[in-house]
């Protein structure tokens, strides 16, 4: 998809507050409008209905907030990437804010395939709508990590299946957001990721309190490559040319 003489850019953004109720697709459309408002030199696809060359990372569920979402966009001319985040934020819906941008190397792997790990902060409620105390969360977390398998029932393409999500559950920690106990989940995306809601279902099979999502924030996403764990803005950033970095 990347052209030979293009200027590929990766943007990191946050999605917080009321705007968390718009979909992944709505965010994509908002970015396309923001690019036009800022008159960025967008590259377009060929064909009957040319679209800007923009690709997004893993979808975020409607209702979830995020500190670390990413998109790649192909431009036709160089721009000052350091100033890009500040230009984009006012052109985006309130609550969506660009927090960084880098020029990418040519033919960087797509975000969708690159991201290997995501982290969530999950505030929970029990079946009566009350906050779940620390000791219950601790028991759920240690129980889950001690299990060999954690099965969840899924419906995929109209078919029901029972999947084991234990392999993608890298860690669970109990932390606090102010006074509220929260779960910090670290989940692998391969071979098939799990949603926070599915993890809670699995945890609830251990503690049985009716564990439900109250507020979910994706706090970070990572690319693991050659043993290193890289933040997506770092992973495929265009390296400054030799002369510039030699000094």
């Amino acid at each position: 998809m990347r052209g030979d003489s293009g200027f590929p850019v990766r943007v990191r953004f946050a999605k917080r507050g009321k705007v968390r109720f718009i979909s992944h697709r709505d965010v994509a459309r908002a970015f396309e409008r923001a690019f036009r408002i800022e008159q960025l030199p967008l590259a377009f696809t060929e064909g009957f209905s040319p679209r800007p060359k923009v690709s997004f990372g893993l979808a975020l569920s409607v209702g979830h907030e995020s500190d670390a979402e990413y998109l790649d966009v192909e431009l036709t001319e160089p721009i000052d990437t350091d100033a890009l985040a500040e230009r984009l934020t006012p052109a985006l819906p309130e609550g969506v804010s660009a927090t960084g941008a880098v020029r990418l190397i040519e033919r960087a792997p797509a975000l969708q395939e690159s991201i290997t790990e995501v982290q969530y902060r999950v505030a929970t409620l029990d079946g009566r709508g009350q906050p779940v105390p620390d000791d219950v969360l601790d028991a759920a977390a240690s129980g889950a990590l001690a299990s060999d398998t954690l099965t969840v029932a899924r419906v995929r393409k109209g078919k029901e299946s029972v999947d084991d999500i234990r392999p993608v559950l890298r860690s669970i920690e109990v932390d606090h957001d102010g006074d509220t106990p929260v779960l910090e989940l670290t989940l692998l995306t391969q071979p098939r990721g799990a949603r926070p809601r599915e993890v809670l279902d699995a945890l609830d099979s251990i503690v049985g309190v009716g564990l439900a999502e109250h507020r979910v924030t994706r706090t970070s996403q990572w690319i693991e490559r050659g043993g290193a764990r890289l933040e997506p803005l770092e992973a495929d950033a265009f390296a400054p040319v030799l002369e510039a970095s030699a000094s």
Partner: protein, 646 residues
């Protein structure tokens, strides 16, 4: 005002499309409510996706927020899943801008663009905790106002609405604001005082200031209750659109909505004189926006919104003076950030239109829509949609030959004097269109969309008895049989919904009780086919002792007092009656923009003039305007319209 967001937020995880309820569109405002300002809640009583793009609401939103003495927020009818949650949790109807309770506003104003939303108005008021019937409201309750095209027959909603604004709202909302502001300053005493005050504002109709006497099923008299209340309420008309370049900051929604693009109104009003078209009759005269202002509004709007598509809106955009120059200019002006698409809704049926369309759709030519409305030349003279078969064939030939593959044709069925040969003219045209298309591409397809005709107030057809459900079904059946294996598709609107629309469109005050019963039986979102059940309407009519056939399928006589006769769109009643007689004789009437005035009454009575930049018909000639077509004046016999005398 209390902010309801903390109580709304928990509900959103449990409803579909939660973004309907969050506001935050680019261009939206969170106005500061001061005690001295009159607060308006502008409500479009349908889903967010349908209501958000409504230009009338957006225009008033800006005008009211620009004034020093008023503020405005917006609301849309919550979908049924959300209303269930709201009722369960006791969360009242709220604004999307700042999540304020509707009942905290001074004025709750509804835009009425279609009759089948009436029950949603009741649902919104009830959810707001405001008594649905005007007579039950106390001084602390908001004033309930309504406007929009449906306000031209306000009577079915007279029980529920305190005051209607008839016609263009740009100026009238200011006068209403001042009257309500004065009432607030005087301590907000009895509602009757402010209602009497409102009733003296030109264009404002306060139903409770009028008594209606009946003579059996007929209206005997409509009497003002006080000397200062006018016998007749005339519509408001903005004389010069150039003074109202609104919306200046069109709202850009976060979720997909209908007409999701920049919309720039290029003119208001239409004098083509299509006799079925209420919009064309009640919005006269034609007022064009200066072409330079259109260009500026397009350029500013695109820059501000980030949209990549703009629509030039009006009732017939190809009639705009200098449309070809405007289109060429817009197409050639690159916005620096990819191509901008241009769409022209409401196009005429002629070769010129196809020329414009090919200018703007250089790349993607999939579908093109025309609205011949009638299947035969005779019936098109009856309805005054003066396009010949040859106009249509030239237009579709132009379309297919230039790369379009799908043509969609809109038709009305159940119009006055319609005989089966007229109905079958629709399938004949559709088959011919497919035949023309197949000369150019094997993929050629045509769709005929037919809708049952509902006569509307202030049109020459206001006296016509609508076709009943069975008759419309029969006509749809004729077309379905005739179009089998023809290559043309047929789509049709549910005749049952057409019937209910007939009850609400030409109803009188007694229909208010029917609307209330339909709402109490759960009949909200009646324009959504999955929510519509005709029996709710028929049961409600029966319970009120009203005969639906009397309201829907009965022809009215010249001397009958119509429920909306005390509301004036400026059209002389005898002009409309004469035009009705001309229709029955299948005589067309040319567009008055470019021919001598035939005195419909609007310009002469209101001292208005057409604002048209060009003194000659638009490029492409007089097609569709009826000029030079040499109408046959012989009277037709055997037309199936009987005028019943009582």
């Amino acid at each position: 005002m209390s902010n309801l967001w903390p109580r709304v937020e928990p509900l959103l995880a449990r409803v579909e499309k939660p973004a309907r309820y969050i506001g935050m569109e680019r261009g939206s405002l969170r106005p500061e409510h001061r005690p001295s300002s009159t607060s308006w809640l502008l409500v479009y009583p349908d889903t967010y996706e349908i209501g958000l793009p409504n230009q009338g609401l957006q225009i008033l939103y800006e005008i009211l927020n620009e004034r020093d003495d008023s503020v405005a927020e917006r609301a849309y009818a919550p979908w049924v899943d959300m209303t269930a949650e709201m009722r369960e949790q006791g969360v009242p109807f709220f604004s999307v801008d700042d999540h304020h309770a509707a009942a905290d506003f001074d004025i709750v104003a509804f835009g009425l663009a279609a009759e089948l939303v009436y029950t949603n108005v009741l649902e919104c008021l009830d959810l707001a905790g405001v008594p649905i019937r005007a007579e039950q409201r106390r001084p602390e309750h908001p004033l309930v106002v309504a406007g929009g095209h449906c306000a031209f027959n306000p009577e079915p909603m007279a029980d529920f609405v305190d005051a209607f604004v008839i016609g263009d709202g740009e100026e009238a909302v200011g006068e209403v604001t001042e009257a309500v502001g004065a009432w607030k300053r005087s301590g907000r005493t009895a509602r009757e005082g402010v209602l009497r005050e409102l009733a003296t504002i030109p264009g404002v109709y306060v139903p409770s200031m009028y008594e209606v006497d009946y003579d059996g099923p007929f209206i005997a008299e409509v009497r003002p209750r006080f000397p200062e209340v006018p016998d007749r309420v005339d519509k408001r008309t903005v004389a010069d659109l150039a003074e109202w370049p609104y919306p200046k900051q069109q709202l850009v929604p976060l979720i997909e909505v209908v007409h999701d693009r920049l919309n720039v109104e290029v003119f208001r009003g239409c004098t083509r004189g299509c006799r079925f078209c209420q919009a064309g009759m009640i919005t006269r005269p034609v007022r064009e926006r200066p072409v330079d202002q259109v260009r500026t509004m397009v350029a500013d709007g695109l820059r501000r919104s980030g949209y990549d598509e703009v629509a030039l809106t009006s009732l017939s955009t190809a009639d705009f003076s200098g449309i070809d120059g405007l289109v060429a200019g817009l197409v050639n002006e690159q916005q620096g950030c990819g191509n901008v698409g241009l769409s022209l809704p409401s196009l005429r049926v002629d070769a010129f239109t196809v020329g414009i369309a090919s200018e703007i759709q250089k790349v993607r030519r999939t579908g093109l829509t025309f609205a011949p409305e009638g299947g035969t030349w005779r019936i098109r003279q009856v309805i005054n949609k003066l396009i010949t078969d040859d106009d249509l064939f030239a237009a579709v030939e132009g379309a297919y030959s230039q790369g379009w593959q799908r043509v969609k044709l809109y038709f009305l069925i159940g119009v006055p004097t319609e005989m089966d040969e007229d109905t079958l003219g629709i399938s004949h045209l559709a088959r011919e269109v497919v035949k023309i298309g197949r000369q150019y591409t094997k993929k050629a397809s045509a769709t005929a969309s037919v809708g049952g005709f509902v006569p509307k107030a202030h049109t020459p057809f206001q006296w016509f008895g609508q076709n009943g459900v069975a008759e419309l079904h029969r006509k749809v059946g004729l077309l379905r049989d005739d179009l089998r294996k023809s290559g043309a598709q047929l789509r049709w609107h549910d005749p049952a919904a057409t019937y209910a629309e007939g009850i609400a469109s030409r109803g009188d005050r007694r229909i208010g009780r029917v609307i209330e019963r339909v709402w109490r039986a759960g009949g909200t979102f009646q324009e959504w086919s999955e929510r519509f059940v005709l029996d709710r309407w028929l049961d409600a009519m029966a319970a009120e002792g009203l005969d639906p056939e009397w309201y829907v399928t009965r022809h009215r006589t010249e001397d009958e007092i119509l429920p909306w006769d005390h509301i004036a769109a400026g059209l002389h009643r005898d002009f409309l009656w004469d035009d009705w007689q001309e229709a029955l004789a299948a005589h067309g009437l040319p567009d008055c923009r470019w021919t001598p005035c035939y005195d419909c009454g609007v310009c002469t009575d209101y001292a208005l003039e057409h604002v048209v930049a060009s003194a000659v018909p638009p490029a492409g000639g007089s097609q569709g305007t009826g000029q030079g077509l040499g109408f046959g004046r012989e009277a037709l016999t055997s037309v199936p319209v009987e005028l019943i005398t009582r």
